[in-house]
Amino acid sequence: MIWPIDLAILTLVVVAAIGALRVKDLLGASILFGSYSFMMCLLWSIMGAVDVAFTEASVGAGVSTVLFVAAVFRTSRRTRD
């Protein structure tokens, strides 16, 4: 494990997670959630769990982002919360 890369990715995970919660635009939130999944995928592969990283990349960053965007497309784009 190379700690500077690890630290950078961990910071990005936290930033993407908080960003996905705070952003008012739901489309932006789903994109941020996709980037969060991708950073998690990088973390898994750093820790040597390549199979889990592959699943995270295909399911988390790939298809679930598409499903979120499809769901946002069917509702209002801005959240009132």
Partner: protein, 277 residues
């Protein structure tokens, strides 16, 4: 309400961080998981199942009963999405208006009161929300989709030797059809894979998995003990376990492929199967 939610979240997070201190250190050789079970898998997987990728062997052979119900969970996710979202046309509704577009000239014809046009190559049926797909995106995706599908098949078939397997390969195959629905329109994707076919494939994947297990039971060994298949496949019991893993991975791949497309179709068109994204 928001403040209560924040307090609950912070307290739960603090508890989790506090509890995480009791975990064994990362890659600690003296931790309980690494002292007994992991060495067995690392040392014996190759000679017991002849599968180089230990994760695949654990997932589809040593823990295959668990994986079977994971596949069933995915199947039920697809079915639940279908039951919650799908809206089928009722008989008492007024007859729908159909739109047909002449492919070469782009002239659109509106047919009222349920009139239909005989199927022809010159006209394609479109929805009222139809927008012309971008030529660059359409052509680019058309070039890309065969390679995506080839990669998905490779991931399923090569799961024994490299990272991958039924789940990942199935998701990649499903994503290729979703890409077709996004780059063209939903009607094109449904024409390639009808809703009926998706439903059948979704159930067939789980059925392939369960039938592989039941076949082992019929051949007088335990449920999902693939070495029972040695007699049918004319190989030694160790290679039969490797082949049994491939059989269930194909089942998982089919179920996941169909479920992903099913969920996407229902969500993107709000259950009406009209124009999606």
């Amino acid at each position: 309400m928001k403040i209560i939610g924040l307090i609950i979240t912070v307290v739960t997070g603090a508890l989790l961080f506090y509890a995480a201190g009791d975990f064994p250190a990362w890659s600690d050789p003296a931790s309980p998981a690494s002292t007994y079970l992991s060495p067995h898998f690392i040392e014996k997987t190759m000679e017991e199942t002849s599968v180089p990728n230990i994760v695949t062997a654990v997932l589809a052979d040593y823990r295959s009963f668990d994986t079977m119900f994971e596949t069933a969970v995915i199947f039920s996710a697809g079915v639940v999405c279908f039951f919650l979202l799908r809206i089928s046309r009722r008989e008492d509704e007024e007859p729908e208006t159909r739109y047909y577009r002449h492919v070469l000239t782009g002239v659109t014809i509106q047919l009222k009161e349920g009139h239909k046009m005989p199927p022809s190559a010159d006209f394609e049926r479109i929805d009222s929300m139809w927008t012309p797909p971008d030529l660059i995106i359409k052509t680019g995706c058309r070039l890309l989709i065969p390679f995506v599908q080839l990669f998905g098949l490779y991931v399923i078939a090569h799961g024994h030797h490299s990272p991958g397997g039924g789940f990942q390969g199935g998701v990649i195959l499903g994503a290729s059809v979703i890409l077709l629905a996004i780059s063209h329109d939903l009607r094109t994707a449904v024409r390639r894979m009808s809703e009926k076919l998706i439903g059948i494939l979704c159930a067939a994947g789980v059925l392939i998995y369960a039938c592989t297990g039941a076949l082992c039971l019929l051949l007088k060994l335990n449920f999902l003990d693939y070495s029972a298949l040695a007699g049918i496949l004319h190989v030694d019991p160790i290679t039969a376990r490797s082949h049994g893993i491939l059989m269930v991975e194909i089942g998982v791949g089919i179920a996941v492929l169909a479920t992903m497309i099913w969920i996407y179709n229902n969500i993107s068109s709000a259950g009406r199967y009209r124009q999606g994204l």
